[in-house]
């Protein structure tokens, strides 16, 4: 007994609690199972901590870096020189070192170094498509539908002046 009335623990006794924990424990998860031999408990625990740190780092990176496979849907409110009656849906996603923006309702895309560039190209190409479609009706049925769709969505500059 020491001066505080507590039993003095010899250096060999420090391993007892860990050894008894191993014998009595019921593993409920991979991290709670302490399969410890008396001789290497410290290195075992350090190894387990390192493993847990590695697993946590992987989990965190999954949440922090989803951009590899991520995409977003944005609405464009107007084109370069034309306005829209209602916004157009666009899917924006990474593409190599840049970005691609695809119109949802018809097969037109814009690409660029960043989102702004890609959306600018897309807007120019939608206007270009609009002019192409307005030239005549020598179009396959799916393009006639796109033409009708764009006529309802786009306010051409001359129409705007009339209003």
């Amino acid at each position: 007994m020491d001066y505080l009335g507590m039993k003095r623990i010899e250096s060999t006794d420090t391993r007892k609690p860990l050894a008894s924990l191993r014998e009595n424990s019921v593993p409920t998860s991979p991290y709670r199972r302490l399969d410890i031999s008396a001789g290497d408990s410290t290195s075992f625990i350090n190894k387990r901590i390192a493993n847990i740190k590695g697993d946590l780092a992987k989990m965190i990176s999954t949440f922090e870096c989803p951009q590899k496979s991520s995409f977003s849907i944005v609405k464009i409110q107007r084109l370069v020189s034309m306005n829209l009656t209602t916004p157009l849906d666009v899917i924006v996603e990474p593409d190599g070192d840049g970005v691609i923006a695809n119109a949802v309702d018809f097969p037109v895309y814009g690409s660029g170094d960043d989102v702004i560039d890609a959306l600018e190209m897309l807007k120019r190409d939608i206007e270009s498509l609009y002019h192409d479609l307005m030239e005549d009706d020598n179009l396959a049925s799916e393009w006639l539908q796109v033409k009708q769709f764009l006529k309802e969505r786009i306010i051409a500059p001359d129409e705007k002046r009339q209003v």
Binding site: G96, G98, Y109, R124, D125, L139
Partner: protein, 91 residues
């Protein structure tokens, strides 16, 4: 998917020579594929010779009403204009 093998000039060359698409110059190059004289598909190709990233390649295939594998074959010249016409006439 063979997008890494081809650049924009390869795709323009095939569109012009095989599909008889005439491109209009602008900030981007647009052209229509005519099926029996009717505008059937419209492709956009960015200006300048550069490699085509994966998703841009997919979008070009979509514009020509093709799957990526069919687009590969078109660019590699294993699909003829006649075969392409047959493919897209059903779509």
């Amino acid at each position: 998917m063979k997008s890494a093998k081809f650049d924009t000039h390869d795709i323009i060359r095939v569109c012009k020579n095989k599909l008889d698409i005439t491109f209009r110059d602008g900030k981007e190059q647009n052209g229509w594929f005519l099926l029996q004289g009717v505008k059937k598909a419209r492709i956009t190709i960015p200006k300048g010779r550069k490699p085509v990233p994966l998703n841009t390649y997919k979008s070009m295939a979509r514009q020509l009403l093709l799957s990526v594998d069919e687009f590969d074959e078109l660019i590699e010249c294993t699909v003829t204009k006649r075969a392409y016409e047959q493919l897209v006439s059903e779509r």
